[in-house]
Symmetry: C2
Subunit: 233 residues, 2 copies
DNA sequence: GTCTATAAACGGATAGAC
DNA sequence: GTCTATCCGTTTATAGAC
């Protein structure tokens, strides 16, 4: 007996939609199916949310809204505590990931579902959240960018392009992991311990990312080209 | 006047489907739209491919089939040339990415479209290629895994779990970039030079990944926990 | 082999009873 | 406020003419 069974129609629709959109995607999920899963008449979707799209926006709004505080919360506390001194890269990386994962442990939504939902939002073509995310997270990205630039070794200094690219890669990787995707079935084939344990992944991910951020600037030491050199040797 | 205009119905359907599935996703693309775009009667879809799903499988089969040789081609040549000696990490990383990007420059399909299509295949829920990819690429993953383990510093040696995790992160990042996704709109906001130029991204990505692979083992130096320590200080 | 016409089911949305 | 019944466009797939 889950909470959904006793909640009101609106909440049950949101719960069902969240789950089904996450699992099958927006276009592939019909409102009929959502209403059936929620045990609610079809018309309640139009009544409460106006349209299918309205329902999806409500799903994201609920999920993100109630967690809005955690985007730069860690960073605020860290900067306050540091009192002007740079924050080290490893702490920034863990703060960034933790802000993402922490969404998993708060609020009414199942952590696993929410995590996948956000991961999916990154790839769903018609998701519509592509208009939502950037405005909501632009500040967080900018704040972390500045923090990373201050944290990284002064000489040879990384260009802003270097830092932003590395954050781009970082975000992409976290999205892939959060979406629970594993196209190569690597977690199966190599029995990676990941099921339901984001901490295990975090432990593996952190050194990888931290080292990446600390790599020499691509402006100064263009690494690409070694393949061609090796093959023509 | 593109090639599509003169090709036969089957080919034109594949071309149109490839393009539309890539742009809008499987569920959101109707066969009518595909047939219209291809300038071909609707019934030709059933005739040639049996069903919508059959069409999609044909799209992937054509795209991947004709490029099957390039998955471990670089690695074969590198290992032959090295004659038993380990291949350095930077060369392996570039070979792996190049094998992915090289798909872009071969065959009949537009590079940009194919690239996005593969990227999409990683996230499309109903794509069905999740049964296809692992079997096709398991050998390549295993080969690269062995090569990376031989290339990485002997002491402290990375565990197989370390190496596989790092390949997992690597794959995820490449998938995100290949799908052309950018949820945070970072390429816009920070004017990253990426449009149509995978080489620019490669130059930025390589040092990041290489450094990540060379990071100390997560088994020996668990980095996670610095955030909690910093906040409780 | 190719295509037109249509079937059969499903999609989102709503009118109007209660 | 809540729900049943239905509208009507669109979907996939096919039957059958050419």
């Amino acid at each position: 007996m889950t909470r959904t069974d006793t909640a009101d129609a609106k909440t049950r629709l949101l719960d069902a939609a969240e789950h089904l959109f996450t699992e099958h995607g927006f276009a592939a999920t019909s409102v009929r199916r959502i209403a059936t899963a929620a045990g609610v008449p079809l018309a309640m979707v139009s009544y409460h949310f106006g349209s299918k799209k309205g329902l999806m926006e409500a799903v994201y709004a609920r999920a993100l809204g109630q967690r809005a505080t955690s985007r730069v919360g860690y960073l605020d506390r860290l900067e306050k505590q540091a009192g002007g001194a740079p924050i080290s890269v490893d702490i920034l990386v863990e703060a960034f990931i933790s802000s993402a994962l922490r969404l998993t442990h708060k609020g009414t939504i199942s952590g696993a579902v929410f995590k996948q939902m956000i991961g999916r939002a990154f790839y769903e073509p018609e998701a519509g959240v592509e208009d939502f995310f950037p405005t909501e997270y632009a500040e967080a990205v900018e704040r972390y960018k500045c923090a990373f630039m201050r944290a990284l070794p002064a000489l040879p200094v990384l260009s802003e392009a270097d830092v932003v690219w590395r954050m781009y890669f970082f975000v992409g990787m976290v999205a892939y992991a959060m979406a629970g995707k594993d196209v190569m079935r690597m977690t199966e084939i190599y029995a990676l311990e990941v099921a339901g344990r984001p901490e295990a992944m975090l432990r593996r991910l952190m050194p990888f990312i931290v080292a990446g951020f600390n790599a020499p600037s691509a402006d100064l030491a263009p690494t690409a080209g070694v393949l061609a050199a090796a093959l023509s040797a």
